[in-house]
């Protein structure tokens, strides 16, 4: 009994922290550019797909693929921003929101359609395992442990980048006040591109980790984007620890509900959490004053 609960807890934390990685990417994009990127989940899907193809065709282990997918998708994100987001950047707020929804929704539909056509619409996983470890009565899959380690490492790295480097500080400044940051001489255009690229790269890296544990299809993008968005509302925009904690809460609750009530209910959890949190703390669970 205890070990079942522990298994669920570990699994939930793991899945949640992978969600959090992508969610923080989206939060970065939203915080800096105010773009509601509906295509975000599709980048996770693409990252996972690349890893699964690299493993199936070339035998490349997923933790090596990470080093390709990360920089690769950083570039993809920057190009995406240059072609599709930059041209509308100067529109008034309301027009910008609508245009960004149309553009990212359109991109998402196109990406899913093209992916389904070129690799097939079926479920795809990865038969990659590492030997499990036994701690007391709890069996811990070492694949999951490595995954968790990678997520924590990436989060830590991201935290350091955001706090210590010039670009990271500029990004945080942009999230606080766009005009203020511009007045301080920050190149908004270049940093917006960087934020978008970084956000996309985080989602795609999350996808590489995701596919080692869970199956993917070309159509998981939009539901995933939705979960990400819930996490952002819960954790607060640009709040890295808050997003991580929210991700873990979501992952654990999903795992518990899925086990005790049935898998068909686990998907409703994200949303119930969201509504409860909105009623209780409308600015987010971990918001620090600024709404």
């Amino acid at each position: 009994m205890l070990s079942t609960a522990a298994q669920l807890l570990v699994g939930g934390v793991l899945q949640g922290s992978i969600y959090a990685l992508g969610a923080f990417g989206l939060s970065l994009i939203f915080g800096v550019l105010h773009v509601l990127n509906i295509a975000h989940g599709d980048f996770l899907m693409l990252g996972g797909l690349v890893a699964s193809l690299a493993f199936a065709r070339a035998g490349l282990p997923p933790f090596l693929t990470l080093f390709l997918v990360g920089p690769g998708f950083l570039l993809v994100g920057i190009v995406f921003h240059r072609l599709l987001i930059r041209p509308i950047a100067d529109r008034p707020r309301q027009e910008f929101l609508i245009a960004s929804i149309l553009i990212t929704l359109g991109a998402s539909l196109a990406v899913e359609d093209i992916t389904a056509f070129s690799v097939g619409g079926s479920v795809r996983g990865m038969a990659y395992t590492l030997p499990p470890i036994r701690v007391g009565t709890v069996m811990v899959s070492s694949l999951r442990l490595v995954n968790l380690g990678v997520v924590l490492l990436l989060t830590l790295l991201l935290g350091v980048v955001l706090r210590r480097t010039y670009a990271g500080r500029a990004l945080r400044a942009l999230m606080q006040s766009r005009d203020g940051a511009r007045l301080c001489g920050i190149d908004v255009g270049r940093l917006s591109a960087l934020a978008f690229g970084l956000g996309v790269a985080l989602a795609a890296t999350g996808g590489v980790l995701y596919v080692t544990l869970f199956p993917i299809t070309p159509f998981i993008g939009i539901p995933l984007t939705l979960k990400y968005l819930c996490l952002i509302v819960m954790g607060g925009v640009g709040n890295l620890p808050g997003t991580l904690a929210s991700g873990c809460i979501l992952g654990v609750t999903e795992a518990l509900v899925g086990f005790y009530l049935g898998a068909e209910w686990s998907l409703t959890v994200a949303f119930f959490l969201l509504v409860v949190i909105l009623l209780w703390r409308p600015t987010g669970l971990f918001a620090r004053g600024v709404a």
Partner: protein
């Protein structure tokens, strides 16, 4: 009066369609009217108020299921249709308080989540809804009466949108869209106005859901809460632009485009459709009716009142 006469001509024209053409054209127009009703009613919140309600289709689905459950319970369809209006209105009334605490993109996210939740609930509460196997109505051939009902609904929702646009409420909604704080400072009661807009937009969508379900005689959670029914009308309203005329133009354009793509292209219709949406977002900030030449045409149409200026057409 002249305006009314002008608009009566196409309405009568559409009225005789089932008498003179194939059922293909009738089905095509019926679906167009359903989408148009959704796009127009979406426009009250999405266009005038400027809150992008990605969960607008939840009214459609709730209406469809309410009607289905009531008809199966033995009630006649007109009563069920009434129920299909009441249920979504009550639903939005109940959730308006937490949801209207959100603004901008957050509101869009939460309402999008709402739709997903309803789809899951429709799947899981199988005693009530039949679950993923769907809910069937007593069989029957209802194309022609459903056609007239949807035509009426589409016309009514255009009328509703027009009257909101001309009312004090419409003015208040647009002032909230431009600047909530300023509107509030001028004495606009923000919450009351927003709730009214939400309820007004829920009612026609619920009725459209009921008629659609009645016509199809069979509904599944995916069909009435799914992404396609959720996003198409919104894309139509955004494509057309804000105002009572925008969604009509957008609905016509996208329905025809989709029909052409499905029949002409073997693959990649979703890709082309998606690229088209992205192109609209990139190139047309005010939607199709925001373009200069379309404004000029619209200004000549009678009966739209202030439509000529920025008033109704441009927002």
């Amino acid at each position: 009066m002249r305006g009314l006469l002008f608009w009566a001509i196409p309405l009568v024209g559409l009225g005789v369609v089932p008498l003179v053409t194939s059922s293909y054209a009738v089905v095509f127009l019926l679906l167009l009217f359903v989408n148009l009703t959704l796009a127009e009613s979406y426009g009250i919140v999405g266009g005038y108020l400027g809150y992008v309600n990605l969960g607008h289709a939840s009214s459609f689905g709730l209406g469809a299921y309410a009607a289905g459950i009531l008809v199966r319970g033995g009630l006649p369809f007109p009563v069920a249709l009434g129920g299909a209006v009441v249920v979504p209105v009550l639903f939005w009334g109940a959730i308006s308080y937490p949801f209207l605490r959100l603004r901008g993109a957050y509101f869009s996210v939460a309402t999008f989540g709402l739709l997903t939740l309803l789809e899951l609930l429709a799947n899981n509460l199988s005693r009530l809804t039949g679950g993923s196997e769907g809910l069937s109505f007593p069989p029957g051939y209802r194309l022609v009466p459903a056609y007239y009902l949807t035509l009426g609904l589409a016309a009514a929702s255009v009328g509703l949108s027009l009257s909101v646009a001309r009312s004090r409420l419409g003015l208040a909604l647009r002032s909230i869209r431009e600047d909530e704080e300023a509107a509030s400072a001028f004495g606009v009661r923000l919450f009351a106005c927003k709730v009214r807009a939400l309820l007004l937009s829920a009612a026609p969508a619920g009725a459209a859901g009921a008629v659609f379900a009645w016509y199809q005689a069979y509904i599944t959670p995916g069909a009435v809460f799914g992404l396609e029914i959720a996003l198409m009308p919104i894309a139509m309203a955004m494509l057309g632009g804000s105002g009572p005329v925008g969604p009509v133009v957008g609905a016509l354009f996208l329905t025809v485009l989709e029909e052409v793509l499905w029949t002409r292209l073997a693959y990649f219709h979703l890709t082309v459709f998606g690229l088209f949406l992205a192109l609209v977002g990139l190139a047309m900030p005010g939607g199709l009716t925001g373009l200069r030449w379309s404004r000029r045409i619209l200004a000549r149409l009678p009966g739209l009142g202030v439509a000529a200026g920025r008033g109704v057409v441009g927002g």
